[in-house]
Symmetry: C2
Subunit: 296 residues, 2 copies
């Protein structure tokens, strides 16, 4: 995405019981390129916080409620204070009102706060989205990368924070660099015991005949808001959808595959580890037309 | 540690070939509690950067060179531009000069910079250290926690960034919270195949008779500067030291054990997973007396 054009610092509500019609006095608009955070911020020192990225189409923020719910889910996994959902909804509405025509992205960030500080730090930004037309129409090449974990790690060891969307994304970024080194555009993480997980910043869906499959969101996957929305759309069209344990070997037998995320939307996969995969361009265009329509 | 009392923003040297006697014009002193970083900072958005923590005793920064070397090592693992070592040495010297008597901590942070920005962002801070007298003298209780990885993961999958000291420390912090939930003070990470690694923010050494053992720093361990320094000290005193693959079961047979880090120094372990361990207080006092002496 481009640099943010809008940013709002949020003083998080102290209690989720607080019933307020208007949280505007808890927001402070700031220059997104000006200094705003102190060096004591635990987000910068330890990636200690959580985030969400929301797509915006012509000023309409997509799927706000699932994103706010997922922020609360991540907060619970990370022992952060529960976000006040109405406060975040109002912050997103203010940010969305600042987005121009076309595609934008709103980011929500909730940090543990300043070291030894009294409260979390929170902010939202809005920025024009990058142009993902090529990814959506021509598709992307992906490679599989070992995530290092076995498929039981998330359930066994919740302190690994698998399933939380934390600010500690250095490994996700390193995986994307590794994919680029291998001549690909993106990566699909797999477990050490041969189970497909997700992409570093996207969900995966596979098409097998008229059935659409995504890796089951236990086992350390961050369930994708875009994937959930697309499954509902496919079901309404009469397709079968399924959450399943997907063996890595099944990647080779899928008829088609896509990476799904809130801003890039549906990117058809043209090759996995160098082996070509068919792309149904008309069908994919239909998926993206749906994803570009106003969704709540 | 307490809030930082001193902070210096650094404009990183563009090339490590640059031979400059004086980097002072690349430093800008800032108020450590004032806004200094923009919301576009990738350290805050993705924990995308690296750091070091250096102990300071009565104004003397300990082991500066090993820390600067390790910063460079982490930068290489994370595909960050190579730090100019002399520039960082000078920044540390300025920070050390601001530290009062007693124990302080200097942090070095090198972030990937602002999203789509031209260069990394870098800064150092200095803060009074927390009082670790109780940990050093009375000791700490630890629990073992699964790190989720097997002992081959680091070598097999370098994008997992094991061995780099990144800002993505959310899991390390979650492991400490889990340890506290279990009534302990700290944790020891172990692999899924039963090999001892390290603590979330410290190295482990074990004493078996007159031999001192630490987990070998391949396999995803961040080699501890304090551990290296202490091994040299022990060797000079005639003790045998060893880097070894330590099976988890060996924790039960060690005569003594310590967690070592740059600021807390040597914290004797009084119990592992609830099983008591002897502490030689006089010997431990000797280790900390060495670690509190000026070291380079």
């Amino acid at each position: 995405m481009a640099a943010a054009r809008f940013a709002l610092l949020i003083t998080p509500a102290e209690s989720t019981d607080e019933e307020r019609a208007d949280f505007s006095d808890s927001f402070r608009r700031i220059d997104p390129s000006a200094p705003a955070l102190s060096v004591g911020e635990l987000s910068t020192q330890r990636g200690d916080g959580i985030f969400e990225s929301i797509g915006v189409i012509d000023g309409h923020a997509q799927e706000v409620e699932p994103h706010v719910q997922r922020l609360a889910h991540s907060a619970a996994l990370c022992d952060l204070p529960e976000p006040h959902r109405e406060q975040w909804r109002q912050a997103v509405a203010l940010a969305a009102a600042e987005c121009g025509p076309g595609e934008w992205v709103i980011k929500l960030i909730l940090s543990r706060g300043v070291d030894h500080g009294p409260a979390p730090t929170a902010w939202v930004t809005a920025a024009p989205a990058a142009d993902f037309a090529a990814a959506r129409t021509e598709g992307i090449r992906v490679v599989t990368l070992d995530r290092g974990y076995d498929s039981g790690a998330a359930e066994r060891s919740p302190w690994l924070l698998l399933g939380a969307k934390t600010l500690s994304y250095a490994v996700n970024m390193a995986a994307l660099r590794e994919a680029h080194l291998r001549g690909a555009d993106d990566a699909i993480f797999v477990t050490t015991d041969g189970v497909v997980l997700e992409a570093p910043t996207a969900s995966l869906i596979l098409r097998c005949g008229d059935r659409f499959v995504t890796p089951a969101p236990h086992g350390g996957i961050l369930q994708g808001t875009t994937q959930i929305s697309l499954f509902a759309h496919l079901e309404a069209q009469g397709y079968a959808t399924e959450y399943a344990t997907v063996p890595t070997a099944d990647l080779a037998t899928a008829d088609q595959a896509w990476l799904l995320s809130s801003v890039r939307l549906a990117a058809p996969i043209t090759a996995i580890d160098g082996v070509g995969l068919a792309v149904d361009h008309a069908f994919t265009d239909g998926l993206n037309a749906y994803l570009l329509s106003a969704r709540d």
